[in-house]
Amino acid sequence: MNTFIAIEPDRCIGCGTCQAACSEGHRKAGLQAEPRLALTFTPQVTAAVTCHQCEGAPCLAVCPVDAITRTDVAIVVDEQTCIGCKLCAVVCPFGAIHPSGTSTAGVAGLSFPTPTQPRGVSPLLAWSIGVYTCAVKCDLCSTYDPEGGPHCVRACPTNALYVRDVTALTGIRKEKMRAAAAANQIMMNRSTNLRRP
């Protein structure tokens, strides 16, 4: 059974603290600073979207260099092995993987970034001179802080993010089955307000 991060959109205030915590944690561990969560806004919903750690992870299946592996905790990318081919990003059903690289500004004699295309270009097509990209995705912070758990969850000021693991999901399943049972009662024209004697 896999573990992943879920969100309650009515609690999300779109503040991006999860992204900041994600970025800071990974950056300090020497990984790409790019946040692994994306905030998505529609008129009705605000939610941080991130990897579901799929059971039959398509990203893992398509990786040509085996840079994506399944650990006991999560599906993780080895940034050093990744060749930046973007196949995983294309097959991800949730848009939860995208390429990211470290800008050469300030190291290669360039004092500031030299954009090569408009920012509106999809991250799948974007490139920059001298920047080598690799896939970034949520690793539940397991690669650098297995004890601490996902940093985004503990950073969220409104407790909108949750770790969904086997215990939580079993509880939810029971609730759903109870609700389904109650719905059956209604279908059979019976009262759902039966009290215990």
Binding site: F112, T114, T158
Partner: protein
């Protein structure tokens, strides 16, 4: 605020009017989410679908600049539908009849054209607000204060709270949530042209005598009239009335409206002193820069928007030439011939604040130790502090009663026209604080939001102009122009674009109108006319942006380098 922030969780109804807590105060926003989960009704009136609008029971999308028409109609419903708390009005307010003379002219139906709000929805909202148990709180932010009719709208909000009896009991009343950290504290300490510390009027001879005695100066040395407000600065320089300007912890070249004009005026000053922790664009213009310490380098007391004093301690020692603000002030005073001497911040708190401001006397360092706090009024040492003001309908006017005041609606100053068909409204975003001098250097925050900021535009307005999502655009007004990044946003209303005011290259204050109201002299930052166009060569624009930004950072760093001295402590010998 007449209530405490924690108490917002326990109100029966929260009415957010011109207030977007998710962007300006995430911590308050958290309380609102909790209030909703505890069963509170939420009403949101805002031209944009703000985060809280998604969880609101009623969302009222009003047109920009229509506040007074909306609030008057809201008040009208409370009266015509019999929702008035007659006893409260009789016992605790004055001027109901004159107030009603104005309000009766505004109905949800006859204001619909101005406000754009469905009359039925407005009626429902007024009913929900007025009848909520145990209490309702009317919250507002800069969506009230930065309009032409700002003081008028505050009068209207206060009157609505009074006539519906939603004030004077726990967790009720009015919640104008202050814009910035410790802006409440700055006002508490008398950083206003009309007050000494503790809201004690400079025009009151007894108060002047009290301060003169305490400060050991002749009473004539203290000014007996109200001073100038910062928004009047450019005009007064132009008129030759101000020739020297001492700027302390502000970046007006970033935050004031109509920056092109302000910059020209600042250049005319004979003497310009700037006291700041970073080399801001304003500091770079100054004749003298006095480097101060940041919040991590000194101790002090902040006041939260709900009047709560909180102590904060020094985390690291100051670097280089930096001095605490109070040290700079006392050294200046001494050079000017007045003996001003303190040992530490606590001494100032005890001898200047608590000793001179009766309502803060009980706020000792002991009470604020650790994560403790003290909420004024807290007049005695054993006083627990006061989360809720005006309990039992006791107001602080001479009569002890609330004065009901109503005003007629006026159009904003600069209505959109053919040349400038879009309304520009300046707003906040959560990631960067105020003028960005403190958060701009933070890598994580820059990763989430960076130059040139965003211009949020409705899909229809963008389509009309051939603007695509994420592209750089040019925006301009009668004052000036700027570059920004268009974000096509279904949550904003058509006809208005929204920009945040902290970007150096994407500076929206190059466009904003400098028009202030007569009473508070607050600029009309929420409403001016502008136009936006797509930039044809995006690649060039992206590079140009980077060049401009890098050049500006380089210039500021170079200006700051003159001040750099090696720390005198440490060393290896």
């Amino acid at each position: 605020m007449s209530c405490g922030v924690p108490g917002m969780e326990d109100a029966g109804c929260l009415f957010l009017f011109g207030y977007n807590p998710s962007a300006s105060h995430p911590i308050v926003s958290r309380r609102i989410v909790k209030a909703k989960e505890k069963g509170a009704k939420i009403i949101v009136a805002d031209p944009r679908v703000i985060e809280t609008a998604r969880i609101a029971d009623i969302y009222l999308p009003l047109k920009n600049g229509s506040n007074i028409a909306f609030l008057n109609a809201f008040a009208n419903v409370i009266v015509t539908e019999g929702l008035v708390d007659e006893e409260f009005v009789k016992e605790h307010t004055l001027g109901f009849d004159e107030w009603w003379d104005t309000i009766k002219e505004y109905t949800p139906e006859n204001t619909q054209e101005i406000t754009g709000v469905d009359p039925q929805l407005l009626r429902e909202a007024a009913r929900m607000y007025a009848t909520a148990e145990p209490s309702s709180i009317l919250c507002w932010g800069m969506g009230v204060c930065q309009h032409l009719q700002n003081v008028e709208a505050v009068h209207a909000c206060a009157a609505i709270a009074c006539v519906s009896g939603q004030i004077g009991k726990p967790n009720s009343g009015v919640a104008p949530v202050r814009g910035q950290n410790n802006v409440q504290g700055a006002c508490d300490m008398g950083a206003l042209p009309n007050y000494f510390p503790g809201y004690q009027k400079v025009t009151d001879p007894d108060i002047r005598q009290k301060f003169a005695d305490h400060w050991n100066v002749p009473v004539e040395a203290l000014s007996d009239h109200v001073g100038y407000k910062v928004s009047d600065l450019p005009r007064l320089i132009e008129e030759g009335k101000i020739r020297a300007f001492y700027n302390f912890g502000e970046d007006p070249v970033q935050t004031e409206p109509d920056v092109p004009h302000l910059t020209k005026m600042l250049e005319k000053l004979d003497l310009f002193v700037c006291q700041d922790i970073f080399m801001t664009q304003t500091a770079a213009m100054a004749d003298v820069v006095l480097p101060a310490t940041s919040w991590g380098e000194h101790e002090g007391v902040f006041t939260a928007c709900d009047r709560t004093f909180q102590y904060f301690s020094q985390a690291v020692p100051p670097k280089g030439e930096c001095k605490h603000d109070w040290q700079i002030f006392s050294e200046l005073a001494e050079r000017m011939g007045y003996d001003m001497h303190w040992e530490n911040a606590q001494q100032i708190w005890d001898e200047e604040c608590r000793a001179l401001w009766p309502a803060a006397y009980g706020a000792t360092y002991e009470k604020m130790a650790g994560t403790g706090h003290a909420q004024w009024p807290i007049p005695t040492l054993d006083h627990p502090g006061t989360p809720d003001l005006f309990l039992g309908g006791k107001f602080t006017t001479p009569e002890g009663k609330a004065h009901l005041v109503a005003h007629d609606y006026r159009d904003p100053t600069e209505m959109p026209d053919e040349e400038f068909p879009l309304i520009l409204c300046t707003v906040r975003e959560v990631g960067h604080y105020s003028c960005r001098s403190m958060t701009g250097n933070c890598k994580v925050l820059a990763l989430l939001a960076d130059e040139p900021g965003e211009l949020r535009i409705h899909p229809d307005d963008a389509k009309e102009r051939g603007i695509r999502d994420g592209e750089l655009v040019r925006a301009w007004s009668r004052r000036g122009e700027t570059m920004s990044r268009a974000v096509i946003d279904e949550r904003v209303n058509a006809g208005t674009v929204y920009m945040t005011y902290q970007w150096w290259i994407g500076k929206c204050n190059n466009l904003t109108l400098h028009h202030v109201d007569d009473r508070s002299r607050t600029p009309e930052d929420k409403f001016s006319a502008c136009q936006v166009e797509a930039l044809p060569d995006q690649k060039w624009a992206e590079r140009h942006l980077q060049e401009l930004y890098s050049q500006l950072k380089e210039d500021l760093a170079e200006t700051a380098a003159a001040q750099h001295v090696e720390p005198t402590c440490g060393g290896t010998e």
